[in-house]
Each structure stands twice: as C-alpha cells, then as structure tokens.
C-alpha cells in the first residue's frame, strides 16, 4: 500500500532527484554531507532558506569545509540543484555537480543576513550560476 506512490514516482522523470517518496525534516537536512560527482567530500548543508510566502525552499547554504583550502566558506546553492540520497526515509547524503573550480567561483554568503537573498537581483545570478531556471515571480 505505502510503496505504491514510490513506484509511480520513480517512473516520473521529474522525480529522479530522490530515490524514495519521503518528507524530509529540515533539521535532519542540516548537517547532511554533500559530495560532488567526482565523489569528493565538499562540505555539508548548513541551512535551508525558505520563502515565507510560498513555503518554497529556495536555497541551501552549503558550508564548504577544507575542500577549497580556504577555511570555512559558505555558498548559497538553489535547492533543486541537489540530488538527495536517502535510506528508509532518512537523508543519507546529497550530491551536487560542483568541481573545485566551480565552487571557488560560486556566489558566497556572509553571516546570517539571508533576507537580501529574497530579492531577485541577489537571487537570480545564483540560479544562473548553478544552471537552474529562475522561476520566482517578483
């Protein structure tokens, strides 16, 4: 009974980001490991940024550890750029198509002043950088 929606979803091309039909708890996503397509450990998810009016998760703030050799750096990445690998309803890790070079040039975030990322002129270039379609209407 419960596995039926999961089967339907796996047929669907737009649902390929995840392996299972689940709801993710935001506090479990925080701290999730992020690896790139070269199987390198690039950091972990530090925060999810949610649009208060639509309930849409717009960005994940990725805390890049020693990977860049620059100490701790934070970059905002559109949430839908991540692939989520889960096991029995829990997030195992996420994948992001991010080489060292791509991360080095990625738009950074400083501090916790995330509100400015609400504005299209701050947010849209980040979507463009990560090859994601900017869909929000402002």
């Amino acid at each position: 009974m419960i596995s039926k929606p999961a089967e339907t979803k796996s047929m669907n091309a737009t649902a390929q980001r995840t392996e299972a039909a689940i709801l993710l708890a935001a506090s479990e996503v925080k701290g999730a490991r992020v690896i790139n397509f070269q199987n390198e450990n690039i950091g972990d998810i530090d925060e999810l940024l949610i649009e208060s009016d639509t309930g849409q998760v717009r960005f994940a703030v990725l805390s890049v550890g020693g990977f860049l050799g620059l100490g701790s750096t934070k970059v905002a990445v559109p949430w839908l750029a991540f692939q989520i690998v889960s096991d029995r309803g829990k997030i195992k890790y996420t994948m992001l198509d991010a080489t060292r070079e791509r991360l080095e040039k990625a738009p950074r975030v400083e501090g916790k002043n995330y509100e400015r990322l609400y504005l299209a002129n701050a947010a849209e270039p980040i979507f463009v950088y990560w090859d994601m379609e900017w869909t929000a209407e402002r």
Binding site: I22, S27, L49, T54
Partner: protein, 157 residues
C-alpha cells in the same frame, strides 16, 4: 493575411496559457502572509506560535519538506501546556499560518483554539515519511481548511 491571423491567434493562446500559469502560481501564495522574505529553517524551529486571541500555543518543532519540489508541506507544532495535556505534537500545513513582521522577526499566528488543537491530527515520534502519502496528508489539509494541492512531481502521469 491568413498566416498573420494565425500568428495572432497563436500568440493570444500563448498569452492565455502564460496567464493561467502565473495564476496557478499565485494561488500557492499565502495571502495572509505579509512578510515575504527568506527564513532559515533552523530559525523557524523554536518559533512561538500565537492564536488570534494572542495566546501562546507552543513552538515550532520541525519543518517537513517535499524534497522533489522543495515545497514545505507541514510544520510540526509542539503544543505546550496550553491544552493541559502535556506535550502534544500536531502537523499543520504551512499555509494555515499567517506570517507577519514584528520588528525584525517574523510573527507566526495560527487560527486555533483549545478545541481545535485537541481534535487536530497528531504526530507521534519522528516517523514523518507516512505524512508523504496523500491518504495521510490530505485529511490534515482538510482539517485546517487548506486546499489540498497535489504536488507537481506526482500529478504528472
């Protein structure tokens, strides 16, 4: 001439389709929320929620996200002593909350009295995955009088 008319007809059609699309998008917006902003999920956790009578209902314990669409589906509200029942956790659709600005912080309001919370669908433990299924989720939307919107990723055949 015929071709021009055809072109006009096609572009009109496109405009209509375009408008339809944005209308559907606008429906997803919560009209009660007058604080359009980006909020960190970890900042939402622990936020106190009040009702229309300005009573403290409890605090937000968790935010549940549909990973495919990135849409917040539910907020888990930990009801404190308000019910006189000890700690109880209820799942509430995000759009049931009114989020307004109070100083520099968002203020969360939920239209709920003691009776409404007592009868509300509860959650036990951290096994949130079952709330993904429509059979579990839709009744919660109905209870909180929020229109159920089938997630995009599962509505396509």
């Amino acid at each position: 001439m015929k071709t021009i008319l055809k072109t006009i007809a096609v572009s009109l059609l496109l405009i209509v389709v375009g408008a339809g699309g944005s209308l559907a998008w606008a429906k997803n917006k919560n009209p009660a929320t007058t604080y359009p902003s980006l909020v960190g999920a970890s900042e939402i956790k622990g936020t106190h929620v009040k009702n229309l009578q300005n009573q403290d209902l409890g605090q937000i314990d968790e935010v549940l996200i549909d990973p495919d669409t990135g849409q917040v589906r539910f907020v888990i509200l930990e009801v404190g002593g308000f019910l006189g029942l000890g700690a109880t956790r209820v799942a509430v659709p995000l759009s049931a909350f009114q989020i307004t600005q109070e100083g520099n912080t968002p203020k969360w309001v939920l239209d709920a009295d003691k009776e409404k919370l007592t009868n509300a669908p509860k959650v036990q433990g951290k096994n949130y995955q079952r709330l993904y299924t429509r059979a579990e989720a839709e009744p919660i939307f109905v209870y909180w009088r929020i229109k159920w919107i089938e997630p995009e990723s599962s509505s396509n055949p």
